[in-house]
Amino acid sequence: MDDVVIKAENIGKYYRLGQINTGMFYSDARSWMSRKLGKEDKTLKIGEELKDKTGFWALDDINFEIKQGDRIGIIGKNGAGKSTLLKILSRVTAPTKGRIGIRGNVASLLEVGTGFHPEMTGRENIYLNGAILGMKRAEINDKLDEIIAFSEINEHIDTPVKRYSSGMYVRLAFAIAANLESDILIADEVLAVGDAEFQKRALGKMNDLSSKQGRTVLFVSHRMNAVKTLCQNGIVLDKGRIVHQGNIDSCITKYQSRMYDKEASKDLSLYNNEFFDLQGYTLVDRDGKEVTGPVENSESVFVRIELDMKKVHNAFTTGYAIYNADGMLMYWSYLTDDYDEDNNVKPGKNVLTGEIPAHFLNEGEYYIYFSASLHYIQWLVNPEEDSPCLKLHIQGGLSESPFWTIKRPGLCAPVVKWKVKN
């Protein structure tokens, strides 16, 4: 039995760089004229290339098949082409080349609350939003109570949505989309909204839709644990190309190590900016020697950051973000967590060391991304986007006890003080 519901063949999407045109008819016309006449284009600045010729393939050579009931996680860094792919699949934008065949109807949850009209009541918006997403009036009538119950809006359902809190807004929007009758559900970061309680329920609902009702789900999220719980299979995108397809665990591992390989080969000077030059980013042990191989959990490890500060800003902070091999963020740490006027960066050379405590993480591989920012003002180096990465491998030394020598269940493996009174 062949039950392919989505088949993509050689999909590509080309974007021109910069502005599509100058935005002014006069300049466009002049530019067009001079191109026709083979003259130099006067609307371009000196040294600037003709904009038409520069561009990039946001997606290229994308081929895949998705079977009925599959739950596919699409992972990749920002700019890898995930959203472009979902936009093409949900027909918001057309591919530049290639074709996709789809069986069944597609509902896309690209951004919750799209098309809500602030002046209309919750109930009116359920109908409008449902219809935009492709539901018939009768279907919405059937689902109305379920939607209202799931959103927990209840008595406020006849209030204009402009009076809703942002939480209510998002809950209502998700409830509508999640109760849609569709064969294929495309979801982009929908779970990144609402409070923790709601996120949990939303994830449960998504799980329900795919596993119990046998719907095909395509899911994009930065949260690897959400992808992991929801999806069986995955596609890893990097720079618009598929670099790996397979079961979700292999995808996440591939994604992590690929990111690491990419970062490790990069020159640190790429991250220099107006505030500092990054001159070193290494893992060292207690004696200051660089760590290369696996480390026992009974040893502290230190992240060593060497900065040449060119400009000091009082909101400046730096640190690291540590992820486990599943892509789950363990924690973030900042220099300024332990604030002390004297213990801070000064103009010129600075060597910072941040401890990763002993007897704290579990056995396994960890990825440590460098971060630097002007706190609440701007990112200088964003660990979630493009930043240098270190790999830490913890093996053994989990406790003093002879009973635990291998990896323990759980995310962390702290050794805590126990007291016994007899």
């Binding site: 935005g23 949900s90 057309a94 074709r99 789809i102 002046e119 409008l128």
Partner: protein, 283 residues
């Protein structure tokens, strides 16, 4: 198995036929069209003092103003039709034409949020706009009919014949011409945003260049070619002819205007379809 061996419900391809309207899909999304209409009508006048009475406010006050200015100050004839009826018909039809045209011209810009996020047949939005403007028009026209009847009972030798049944056709004709022009403009405004502003200004000037506040018979021969060239002239004159039996619109003008309507509408749909695919990347 190869791509072509499957039975696909949908095939997404780089190139699609530019004239495909997707009529089947539009029918499937008819509920959405009605909901768009409701949204347009219900939300325009929320939190206003007069509410939907604004629909009547505008033509009534414009009519009073025009009677004073054009009838009494400028002393322009109305072909024997009572000025109230003459001006109000012109205003109602003209404002139907222009407000539909301007809202179609903004169709991409004002819907960019939904267009960028969800797929649904895009032509549902222009269709919904036609319906909501038609409803507005009908409310205004109903008031005109009441005034018309009052005049009839007070001895105005009105002109009520079976020809009145053709009125809906003229209204449809207006809607299609306006939609065609509007869609053409809308496709250009995704690139050049100032065009929408320019359009509003030119339409307000253009009112004086079309026989809205005066009959075509008052136009001197020298200017006639210009009026014939304007496809709106035939519409206004036909409408008055059906209501009052006046006006000297020629068959040539009618055919010319219908021809323009067909060409503009096709060009409008073509450009709309072309733009709908790429505008998300442009706007």
């Amino acid at each position: 198995m190869n791509f072509d061996d499957y039975q696909w419900d949908t095939v997404i391809e780089a190139k699609q036929s530019p004239f495909s309207v997707g009529l089947k899909q539009i029918v499937e999304y008819r509920d959405l069209i009605l909901l768009f209409v409701r949204r347009d009508i219900a939300t325009t006048y929320k939190q206003t003092i007069l509410g939907p009475l604004w629909y009547l406010f505008q033509p009534i006050f414009s009519t009073i103003m025009f009677i004073i200015v054009f009838r009494h100050v400028a002393n322009i004839g109305t072909e024997g039709v009572p000025p109230v009826l003459f001006y109000s018909v012109g205003i109602i039809l003209w404002s139907f034409f222009t407000s539909l045209l301007t809202s179609q011209a903004r169709v991409f810009y004002s819907n960019k949020d939904i267009f960028g996020k969800v797929y649904f047949p895009r032509l549902t939005v222009p269709i919904a706009l036609i319906i909501s403007e038609l409803i507005k028009f009908m409310i205004q026209f109903a008031v005109f009919v009441i005034v018309y009847l009052v005049f009839l009972f007070n001895g105005y030798a009105g002109f009520a014949s079976l020809k009145l049944l053709l009125l809906p056709l003229v209204v449809l004709w207006t809607a299609l011409l306006s939609t065609g022009l509007g869609l053409i403009v809308s496709s250009i405004t995704t690139r050049y945003r100032d065009l929408a502003k320019a359009l509003e200004y030119f339409l307000s000037l253009f009112m004086y260049a079309a026989p809205v506040v005066y009959p075509l018979s008052e136009v001197s021969d020298g200017f006639m070619p210009f009026f014939v060239f304007n496809p709106v002239t035939a519409i206004l004159e036909c409408f008055r002819n059906l209501c009052f039996g006046t006006s000297e619109v020629s068959l040539f003008m009618i055919l010319y205007s219908i021809g323009c309507t067909v060409i503009f509408l096709l060009a409008g749909i073509l450009l709309f379809n072309k733009n709908e695919k790429v505008f998300v990347d442009v706007i």
